[in-house]
Amino acid sequence: MSDIFEFTPENFKRFQEILHCYPRKQAAMLPTLYLAQQQQGCITPEVEQYVAQLLEVSLVDVREVLTFYTLFFRRPMGHHHIRLCMSISCWIRGAGQIKENLTRILGVPSGEMTTDGNFSWEAVPDCLGACELAPMIQMDKDYYGPLTSNKITDILNDPSHSHNHKSTEQNTKETS
């Protein structure tokens, strides 16, 4: 990883488009951090420095945002990142069991990355907003549920496989 971070020309163009949406530069903080995270994988101190300069704010303004929100990563995550919802509705439907399954299958505790770097995962206390799929996970952009031990194994074996790849829309159809 190089010491200096800057946006690719393409992302810099995208950044300038983002700025047009707001009357103040600082308001572009979250979308700019997302863009940087997309490019770099996580928000390193170099990224913080760069974003502070771009938005003309102090470094601490970036740091306090970064540490306040849960969807920004300060260290590299796995190729696929999994969030297991532990909130009330998923808990009622057996999220605790799924947590045990994930720990066993991935071989690392919540908050960690597998040694091959393929998966990182976390059991999150906040509701992911898909309680009709309980118990459920979010892997990268998609929601998967209702989960069973078998389904978890299938999804992890082949997350990109279309017949296992259940978007919420397909699932909400099922549960309707």
Binding site: P23, R24, L71, D126, C127, A130, C131
Partner: protein, 427 residues
């Protein structure tokens, strides 16, 4: 009660998110009617008379909220759409974003015209990546189809809509926390007054409305306030999307008139209790709402009846618990959430949620002490009415209800160091 679909009629239809399909169904005709044929005040009056309530959680009358926006200050007014739905158990707005984004956009146009607004931001929770993509595609299509932009629907009315993605903080669903977040800061709620209607986003007058609230506007314009008010019950106009989850056979989003009995939702629309167990308790409006024990649970699903039952209809998230759910562990789960999501600004909330979580943790572990129950109730009192926003009040309302209504379960855990339900199930 009859099935009335006002905002859910297009759910599960993959065509509905396309502009051409939506327009073929008469979509955007009511936005056009508003701009071309109605005066802004007429729209505000119609919405007031419709008894439309804020469907994010507070249930504040939408028309009245709009009248708080000062006129002719020379300052641009902003509309902020709250799509940060994060209250545990809530997933209804996601369905509108995923299945019917143009209905939301049409509602935004109507609201914007009524309040002379030319810039709207939609703040979507960060986890909703796919719904955000669907929404952005719909907005892009709306710009290309001259539904948005310098001349909305060919009329002399400009409107821009920007989508802003949140980043995983429950507190940003609180409207002033949301404004701070939208301004690029951590989502610490603001002291009020000034209220956002006077001094909101970037210091400008700002209206903040929930997704579902705005999605109701096209039909109110089409059919009139009287029609809408008649569908609901007194002071609660129209329908609501209830997000049903937990121990039910058919979890999902069910649109029902306000005033529908709770047990109709659970047993008819939700198919009854999972595995035909007995109903033990229901949360009527998201994790912040007080839990209702089975014998008090068949209330009318409207804002006022829920308040009378010392709970709240909140976000319309109905969470069902069957006889095998331990209420000590349920309270522990909910307080784990609140302790995690307290933003840390106010001491009673930051410390209170953490203490309660610690006490509940030790009770669940079998290490509770007899004084814990009194300590919990004491902390609940100190967390109520002592902080800037309502997170602390909601958390206190929630865990206090578990302790008070299911005291014997807490006592059993403390006295025996184990869970009575777990024991019953293992026998």
């Amino acid at each position: 009660m009859p099935i009335v679909k006002l905002v859910s009629e297009h759910f599960y239809n993959p065509e509905a998110k396309k502009l051409s399909w939506y327009r073929d169904q008469g979509g955007y005709a009511n936005a056009l009617k508003s701009i071309r044929d109605m005066k802004p005040q007429e729209i505000i009056d119609e919405v007031s008379k419709s008894n439309l309530r804020g469907l994010g959680g507070a249930g504040f009358p939408t028309g009245r909220k709009w009248t708080f926006v000062p006129r002719n200050t020379g300052k641009q007014v902003y509309l902020v759409v709250n799509a940060d739905e994060s209250e545990p158990g809530t997933f209804k707005d996601r369905y509108i974003l995923e299945w019917d984004p143009h209905r939301l956009i049409e509602g935004i146009i109507i609201c914007a015209y009524a309040l002379d607004i030319h810039t709207a931001y939609i703040y979507v929770r960060g986890e909703y990546v796919r719904p955000t993509e669907t929404l952005q595609n719909a907005i892009d299509e709306a710009y290309q189809g001259s539904v948005l932009g310098k001349q909305v629907l060919g009329q002399d009315f400009p409107l821009d809509i920007h989508v802003h993605r949140g980043a995983g903080a429950y507190i940003c669903g609180e409207e002033t926390g949301l404004l701070e977040s939208l301004e690029g800061k951590k989502g610490w709620p603001r002291l009020k007054p000034p209220f956002p209607a006077i001094e909101g986003l970037f210091g400008h007058p700002t209206v903040i409305n929930n997704v579902e609230t705005l999605a109701h506007l096209p039909k109110i314009i089409a059919n009139g306030s009287h029609w809408f008010a008649e569908i609901g019950c007194e002071h609660n106009g129209g329908t609501r999307l209830f997000a049903l989850s937990g121990s039910v056979k058919k979890p999902g989003v069910h649109e029902l008139p306000l005033g529908t009995p709770m047990h109709e939702l659970i047993y008819e629309h939700g198919g009854g209790i999972l595995n035909d167990k007995a109903l033990k308790a229901v949360i009527p409006g998201g994790a912040s709402a007080a839990v209702l024990a089975c014998d008090e649970s068949n209330i009318s699903l409207d804002f006022d009846s829920c308040l009378k039952a010392d709970s709240m209809l909140g976000s319309g998230a109905v969470i069902v618990m069957d006889e095998d759910v331990c209420m000590v562990k349920a309270a522990h789960n909910i307080m784990n959430f609140f302790a995690h999501e307290s933003c840390g600004q106010c001491t009673p909330c930051r410390e209170g949620t953490a203490w309660v979580h610690r006490i509940l943790t030790r009770i669940v572990k079998g290490e509770g002490i007899p004084d814990d129950i009194n300590a919990l109730l004491d902390i609940a009192n100190n967390m109520s009415g002592t902080s800037i926003c309502a997170l602390s009040d909601g958390a206190a309302m929630s865990f206090r209800s578990y302790v008070k209504k299911f005291t014997s379960e807490f006592e059993y855990h403390i006295r025996h160091g184990k869970c009575d339900i777990e024991q019953r199930l293992s026998n």
